[in-house]
Symmetry: C3
Subunit: 349 residues, 3 copies
């Protein structure tokens, strides 16, 4: 898609300074831009690039002063960074909304109900009794099991798999390869040492405005639902086990895992590669550092924890500091032992 400086200024309430019919077709960094790109300058530290950039259009702050004439068309706004981000959003929404229609070959069961302006990529598969909301975009190779509901504006990137009976809200984005609704990991030990599978007949509910990264796995509940609440953001390669609940606006970084039946509160932040055991509660606003291993419930909101097993951040840091000096501490104890022995010897004399 191509846009003129005038069109862009209209989208972000900006004021054009220079040629309003300059045309761009993509976004770039000011220091590397090509002549068909749009950039922004927010940090005055980088002002010099204004005079050397090859970009056709630059979004700058109203307050930006110029030491010399500039080549590109400027669009002046109150806050260049925010205006640029807003523009990107609008651009991506437009690009996504343009996607429409059913590519062939694809597989849609006769009983599935599709809303308006749906995109279905080739090799996508929709099972019986599915309900697909308006403006849903289903990329190539996606699999949707029986009786799944997808809310409007939801986007499933290539190769996402949704097992039967799961419910996905509105404005959800799920990235490639993520599996929603796989069987929870439940096996009952038998007297002969083998394991008997415990059927997993629950589902997964993903509420509105959730985003999930690539190749993550969200298991269905044994009975009832595994729930990812509205606004939660999950990164790549994350494991959410059966019957877990992830609170509103909770953010989980890549490669972390939440075990079965654990309830994570709202606005929790979980670093990468952290693990949380099953059947515990994590209070709202808890911060869990990367690689932590959380083995107990966190009851006080806004607690910061770290380590494996995880405990209070400040005392963990102190322990770590001493821990690194352990060989030194050991030497001090040995020295003390020698001195005390001397004192004891001398006393005997």
């Amino acid at each position: 898609m191509q846009f003129t400086a005038g069109q862009i200024a209209a989208l972000i309430n900006g004021r054009v300074e220079g040629n309003a019919s300059s045309v761009v077709d993509s976004f770039g960094k000011i220091e590397e831009a090509t002549p068909s790109q749009l950039c922004f300058l927010s940090n005055p530290k980088y002002e010099d690039y204004l005079y050397t950039t090859k970009a056709a259009i630059i979004i700058v702050n109203e307050s930006q002063e110029l030491k010399q004439p500039v080549q590109p068309t400027l669009i002046r706004v109150i806050d260049a960074y925010t205006a640029f981000a807003t523009l990107l959003h609008k651009y991506q929404q437009m690009a996504t909304q343009q996607l429409s229609g059913i590519e062939q070959p694809s597989f849609i069961h006769a009983s599935a109900v599709l809303g308006s302006n749906v995109y279905l990529g080739a090799f996508a598969y929709i099972s019986e009794q599915c309900t697909i909301g308006n403006n849903v975009k289903i990329f190539p190779g996606v699999y949707i099991g029986t009786n799944v509901t997808l809310g409007e504006n939801t986007i499933l990137m290539p190769g996402v798999k949704i097992y039967a009976d799961c419910i996905i809200g509105k404005n959800v984005t799920i990235h490639s390869g993520t599996v929603v609704g796989g069987d929870g990991f439940g096996f009952a030990p038998q007297p002969d040492g083998t394991y008997q599978k415990i059927p997993q007949i629950g589902n997964v509910i993903i509420e509105d405005f959730v985003e999930i990264g690539s190749n993550s796995t969200i298991d269905r509940a044994t009975v009832g639902s595994t729930i990812i609440k509205a606004g939660a953001k999950l990164d790549n390669l994350i494991q959410i086990a059966h019957n877990a609940e992830i609170g509103n606006n909770t953010v989980i970084a890549a490669q972390s895992g939440v075990s079965g039946s654990t309830k994570i509160g709202n606005n929790v932040l979980i670093g990468g590669q952290a693990g949380i055991v099953g059947h515990i509660q994590i209070a709202d606003g808890t911060k869990i550092n990367a690689q932590s291993g959380v083995s107990k419930s966190v009851k006080t909101p806004n607690t910061v924890i770290t380590g494996s097993p995880a405990f209070d951040y400040t005392s963990a840091l102190r322990s770590q500091a001493v821990s690194r000096n352990l060989p030194e501490l050991e030497k001090r104890v040995a020295e003390l032992e020698k001195l005390v022995q001397q004192l004891l010897q001398e006393k005997l004399v």
Copy 2:
């Protein structure tokens, strides 16, 4: 599928109390059930739900006494929990067995041999010289490489990929996105700092009754076989490297990794996010805690280990306890140093 109380009682050797023609079409929790659902009551603590539930049919223990009349039809059995689990199993087997036929478009090489009652979903791909057993269910988007064998009753969920020459046993279930037989990670360093790939010409053997979760990766052997033995259960996002062996009925929780050529014994339990180095042996019945890092062979059966590097559970717990009190210990040493200095000073006087 719909079932009457009479049909269900026959399946689980139960006795109907109430209307034998009550009909259900799904399973629920007693406290949340809708009027077309079947539930069970096992724990007497929840008896009160018997009198308030909306469920049509409830499986209860023979021993369950009633304080007042109940609305739903009861099915009395010796052990309600086990009967419910058995029923779920039978139900899921029936549902799976009903799946049959070759959906279009799919890709089957002319040289592939398919057993009876096979289901092949759309966009599934079967390469040359494959042998697919009776009652195998291959969901949409599965890829099966050249010369792969699948034993009877095996289920491959959507998007599973099996590389060439792998052998999958009977009654195996593999969940979405899991990759079986990808190249082992072997590269020989060259004098110029680059790496030369070591061809990986072995395969993966997965024995009977194995279940593997979603998005796991089981690499093929360099030469010979990577083996997952009968009855082993692997969760999601697990890495099994080339030439590893996983013993019978061994259970591995999510996000754990087993490095190359390591042999894990039978009935081992491995917690989530654990890592095991290459070329070691883990004795039968070993328990490895979550997030452990196992760097040495475990030779004594039924050992419990924890930590990274992992060692004996009891002493690890003791070390952890002292470890948390390290700043305190450091203070005690400093105090001792002061006192001993005093004593030494005084002695000099």
Copy 3:
């Protein structure tokens, strides 16, 4: 494919001893080989297998002496192990080069440009404006987004997904299920506790001779590029976040993660399940042990680090040793306290 001893000897500059028309169709281990297999003997320790193996052809060192007549045809070379590896390479290249043609159904946008001798498996999807080099092999179910470039001889195994605008070099191999170019994980916190997505408009560049394992995730940059430099080798289930850079010939083992904007130098070795925080630099030749958590830049080349948080390997080992003896150290301190109290008491007397 079948080969005679004569053909094989020509490929590896060997000398046939025995029947030059012996035929093999696969590779095996000398101790387990079937009569249609080729093996090698490099380690004299295993010489006895020469006289008992069922293999048809064996590659041996020129220097190998025979104590008795052998059944198989021998091919003598200077270094049997290297010759065998070379042969495997050539065999796999031949097998891959034979793959050619466009299987149906597949999806190729009219604007995509395909080189010569390309293989495109069924259910693969190529979006608009893609450029596919000569000899590229795209297996079934691969998804390639808009404006992607694939260099010659590159191989994408089944179910790989490449998002829009990514650039993949020559001689790259990517294994099944790996996702290249998924959105970086960037969300700006809002005053009401929700998060606003930061559009990720950069791409991923994968340079020549890179190999990536199965089910890994390489996120696109926010702006600019996430870069995997030439010759890097990544294992399975690895996370590379937005704007990260992985240096030439750097090797990363399974389940490790590199956070956003971190730059890893050349010829770095990263063990399995390691994590590296964002916005740091790791010097060339650094060795990071398995399960390490790297929280600070490593500035000195060839440093070895371990632990979480990671620090210098030697002092980490020393701390670990003391750490295991912590309960013992605590006892020694308690004993000292008792003795010093005694001394103080006696002094008072």
